[in-house]
């Protein structure tokens, strides 16, 4: 999975960063801290005796940002740097697409449609997906789920709806 070039030989403006993984992780934390601080900018922090709603989130966000800065600094001084792994697009796209497909169809069409849809979309996260096999399996499994969740366990999950 390490398709990026060797950090020691990396040229360009970021050559002084020995560990791109730590640098990226640190920047990620700093961004998260910034989002939190931005979100609670209008809230009152209060005093130690009576905490305001913003006291803890603000304090924690500052600590989070500080750990991010520490990680970035470490990335410059570390001797044993690690490279950033390549991010795959296929996996997250189809897996999360499948979950979202389920979320958007369960109320409208019911489990009979949402179940197979989620499974078929999800199956494409694997490059070796086989449509026919997945389709048959998804229909069978959805039927099992309908019986199990609706009739055996009595959960109120919509089965089939015609919009």
């Amino acid at each position: 999975m390490t398709e990026s070039s060797d950090p020691a030989r990396a040229a360009g403006p970021a050559a002084f960063i020995r560990s791109p993984l730590d640098a990226a992780a640190g920047l990620f934390l700093i961004c998260l801290a910034a989002v939190v601080l931005h979100q609670i900018r209008g809230l009152d922090a209060g005093s130690l005796r009576s905490f305001g709603p913003a006291m803890l989130p603000r304090g924690l966000a500052v600590i989070l940002g500080a750990s991010g800065i520490a990680l970035v600094l470490m990335s410059v001084f570390r001797r044993d740097g690690s490279v950033l792994e390549r991010w795959s697009i296929r996996g997250p796209f189809f897996i999360l697409g499948s979950v979202l497909a389920f979320a958007f169809t369960i109320r409208v069409f019911g489990l009979a449609v949402a179940g197979p849809l989620a499974m078929v979309v999800g199956a494409y996260a694997d490059p070796d997906a086989r449509l026919k096999e997945t389709l048959i399996f998804s229909v069978v499994l959805t039927a099992v789920c309908v019986v199990l969740f609706r009739y055996v366990l009595g959960l109120s999950i919509p089965i089939l709806k015609m919009p």
């Binding site: 999975m1 993984l21 730590d22 992780a25 990620f28 934390l29 998260l32 939190v36 979100q39 609670i40 809230l43 130690l48 005796r49 009576s50 905490f51 709603p53 803890l56 989130p57 924690l60 600590i63 989070l64 750990s67 991010g68 990680l71 690690s82 950033l84 792994e85 795959s88 996996g91 997250p92 897996i95 999360l96 979950v99 979202l100 389920f102 979320a103 958007f104 369960i106 109320r107 489990l111 179940g115 989620a118 499974m119 199956a123 996260a125 694997d126 997906a129 086989r130 096999e133 997945t134 399996f137 499994l141 959805t142 789920c145 969740f149 366990l153 009595g154 959960l155 109120s156 999950i157």
Partner: protein
């Protein structure tokens, strides 16, 4: 002593009703079934199966959940032995000698000794829980907000020191978990914090949503990225019952493993993960011929498996007596208890003694069931292991979606889970371990509450945490732990333990 016996009698009379026995059985069975599947650890298993318990009364639901928990633990060990994949952190050690035994045609003996060792460890730790439950509950009632806060600080420090990877990263994950726990309506002023204007977030973030996203979905994406060569044992499994000689070799390792595991499991902050590692290195040191280890030594399976199970069970002690979950799985149990209207803590034992003791008794019954049902079913597990991941993961996806949706009948929750799946994937890619995040998230709300209470009582003075002796003691332990973990020598051996 008398009270322990009468309490256990109450427990067994609750657990031995037909309904509860059946629930315990079903829980153990499904827990094992899902736990056997590689790539599905106990956290995802419990989160996925949570909706199954919705229609039950609280006692039955908790008995079943506990069954699912042991079942998943047990299934993880089966996979570790039969396939070269540790189902979770605690069965990493079992892979070393267990799979080696399986390759030599002694898979049956490895599975058998793992089951027997786990059962013995389970029996002892049930007694430990029964013995420690009452005194610890009494102790907990003496705790004020300051002591609770310091105890949770100590728990988080433990979690940080025991996490894999760098201390700074584990620390950052705990802080991030704490930040996520502040999402929602402020306890006192009622103002909304960090809700991004989304109405569904004003009650705070649902724990299962976070856990399922970060552990369930992110794990699936990661598994697809690095397809593992599954090395399922072919050929004969061999006799399930270990020979007399193997029993003799395993007896002391099981005893030592049980002791170590039970002791470490009580520690807040996921001490249970240390049990199997500790047991393995102790056995290797004590062995006459340490070179046998890693080449199919039965002691290397018996000891760690006993330690694993003992720790898994005594991890309930901080949860049931103090209301503080020591690890991510126990954090999920808190979520499950809350759904059934039970707030974990010292009051459970006094207000609902039959629930508390029924659960303790069912732990022992569950262990017995696992011993009886699992060994004859090994053939089924082997066949299950041959199901390709290509078919497995869409099924897991569907179960996860149904599970999350049915908690609140809310499709918004399902969407949030997808978002946290992406978030969890990003964390993994940046090299963060998500387990401390979950613990920080669960303890966060309670910590904020106790911190505010303590500061109100002390009129805003932080000195209260060091002026009260118990609180000071807990903080000193936490400080010592951090210092020790930062010492270069310890740091080096800590790295070795987690990479071995």
């Amino acid at each position: 002593m008398d009270s322990i016996i009468s309490n256990l009698a109450l427990g067994f009379s609750t657990a031995l009703t037909f309904q509860n026995l059946a629930l315990c059985f079903v829980g153990c069975l499904i827990g094992t079934l899902i736990g056997v599947l590689p790539g599905v650890g106990p956290i995802a298993t419990i989160a996925m199966l949570l909706p199954i318990t919705f229609g039950l009364d609280p006692t039955g639901a908790l008995i079943m959940l506990a069954g699912i928990y042991y079942g998943a633990q047990y299934g993880g060990s089966t996979t570790a032995i039969l396939v070269n994949i540790p189902g979770e952190a605690t069965s990493v050690v079992t892979v070393l000698d267990g799979h080696e035994m399986a390759k030599q045609g002694r898979a049956g003996a490895a599975l058998g000794i793992a089951a027997i060792g786990s059962f013995i460890a389970g029996t002892v730790s049930t007694l430990v829980i029964a013995a420690l439950g009452l005194p610890l509950t009494k102790l907990a009632q003496l705790f004020g907000p300051a002591e609770y806060f310091s105890l949770m600080i100590m728990g988080l420090v433990f979690a940080m020191v025991l996490a894999r990877g760098s201390l700074l990263r584990a620390f950052a994950m705990i802080v991030l978990g704490l930040v996520l726990s502040t999402i929602g309506t402020d306890l006192e002023t009622g103002e909304e914090r960090l809700t991004f204007g989304i109405e569904r977030l004003s009650d705070g973030l649902e724990f299962v949503v976070l856990a399922m996203g970060v552990f369930g979905f992110a794990e699936i994406i990661r598994n697809l990225e690095n397809p593992e060569a599954r090395d399922v044992v072919r050929g004969s499994i061999g006799p399930l019952l270990p020979t007399r000689e193997e029993f003799r070799q395993s007896a002391m390792p099981i005893a030592r493993g049980t002791f170590l595991g039970a002791l470490l499991g009580i520690l807040p902050g996921n001490g249970a993960v240390l049990g199997p590692f500790a047991s393995y290195s102790v056995e290797k040191k004590l062995a006459k011929d340490p070179r046998r280890f890693g080449r199919g030594a039965i002691e290397g399976v018996a000891g760690p498996e006993a330690a694993n199970n003992a720790g898994a069970q005594t991890a309930f002690i901080p949860l049931l007596t103090l209301g503080i979950p020591p690890n991510a799985v126990m954090a999920l149990m808190v979520g499950a208890m809350t759904i059934h209207g039970i707030i974990p803590g010292p009051q459970v034992m006094t207000k609902a003694p039959s629930l508390f003791w029924g659960m303790v008794a069912s732990m022992w019954i569950g262990n017995l069931m696992l011993l009886i049902i699992n060994l004859p079913m090994v053939g089924l597990w082997v066949r299950l292991l041959k199901v390709p991941y290509r078919l497995l993961f869409p099924a897991i996806l569907l179960f996860c979606c149904i599970g999350i949706y049915s908690i609140n009948s809310s499709e918004t929750d399902v969407i949030f889970t997808a978002v946290f799946g992406l978030f969890g994937y990003a964390l993994l890619k940046f090299g963060f371990e998500p387990a401390p995040l979950l613990l920080g998230f669960v303890l966060g709300k309670l910590m904020e509450e106790k911190l505010r209470q303590a500061l109100i009582l002390s009129r805003g003075s932080f000195m209260t945490f060091v002026e009260r002796p118990v609180s000071l003691g807990l903080l000193v332990v936490a400080a010592v732990l951090i210092v020790v973990a930062l010492l270069p020598a310890i740091r080096k051996s800590r790295d070795e333990v987690f990479t071995e």
